[in-house]
C-alpha cells in the first residue's frame, strides 16, 4: 500500500515536472526607446522568451554565435525563443548594434 502510494506520488511528481518543463514560464522583453527592457533576463531551460517591438523603428534580436536571428521586427511584432541550453546568450539589435541584451539560462 505504502509502496503503491509512493509510486503514485512519484508518478504525479514526475508528471508535474514534465508538465512544468513542457509549458515552462514565459518571460517578456520589451524593445522600447532603443533598449531591450529588461536588458538581462534569467530563465530556466524550457522557458520561453518573447521580445516585442514597442518602438517606432524596426529592430532585431540577433545572437550570431548562438545562431539566433529574429529578422527585422516591425513595430508591434514579436519574436519567441525557447531557452534550451544552459549558459549565457548575449545578443544585439543587428540594425542598431549599440543595443545589447543577455539571456541567462540556469
Amino acid at each position: 500500500m505504502r509502496s503503491a502510494l509512493r509510486a503514485v506520488l512519484a508518478a504525479a511528481l514526475l508528471m508535474g515536472g514534465v508538465a512544468a518543463h513542457a509549458a515552462g514560464k514565459t518571460h517578456a522583453v520589451r524593445i522600447e526607446g532603443m533598449k531591450f527592457v529588461p536588458e538581462r533576463v534569467e530563465v530556466a531551460a524550457g522557458d520561453t522568451i518573447v521580445w516585442t517591438n514597442k518602438d517606432i523603428v524596426p529592430h532585431s534580436v540577433t545572437a550570431a554565435e548562438a545562431k539566433v536571428e529574429s529578422g527585422e521586427l516591425q513595430t508591434g511584432k514579436s519574436f519567441k525563443l525557447v531557452a534550451r541550453k544552459k549558459g549565457e546568450m548575449s545578443y544585439i539589435c543587428r540594425l542598431h548594434p549599440v543595443m545589447h541584451g543577455v539571456v541567462v539560462v540556469k
Binding site: 526607446g33 523603428v57 527585422e72 513595430t75 542598431h96
Partner: protein, 173 residues
Amino acid sequence: MKALQVAASLVAASVFAVASAQDKGPSDPQIAGIVVAANKIDIDAGKIAKSHSKNKEVQQFAQQMITDHTAVNKQAGALAKKLKVKPAESDTSKALKSAAKDNEANLKKLKGADFDKAYVNHEVDYHQQVLDAIDKVLIPNAKNAELKGLIEKVRPAIATHLEHAKHIQASLK
C-alpha cells in the same frame, strides 16, 4: 572643405532657429509637416550615401537612416490620417528643404573619403539640430497628446543615430 562644413552646420543651425524665433510656436499641422520633411530629408541623404560611398560603415549607417526614418514617417503619416491632421508647410519646413537641397548639391560634388566625411559630418550636425528642435520646439508646442507621444518616441532613435554618427565621424579622422 572645412569652411563648407562650417557653412553647412550654420545653415542647419539657422534652420531650426527659425522655429524658435517665431513669436508663436508651430501648430500641430505644421509640426507634422516638420516631422515628415525632416525624415524625408535624411532618407534622401541616406540614398545618396548608399550610391556614392564605398565605406562599409558609412553604407550601413546610411541604410539604417533609410530604414528608421522610413518607419517613422510611415507611423507619422498613419497618425496624421487618424487625427485628420494635414501636414502643413511652415517657414521651418521650407528652410529645412532648402538647406537639404544645398547639402545634396554639395554631397554630389564629392567622392571617396571627402564624400564620407562631408556626409557623416552633416549627419552629426543634422541629428543634433533635430534633437534640439524636438526638445525646444516640437514637444513643447505639440498640442495633441498622440502627436506629442510620437515625437517623444522618436527622440531615443535620433539620439542613437547621433551617437552612431559621432562614432563614425571619429573613425574617419
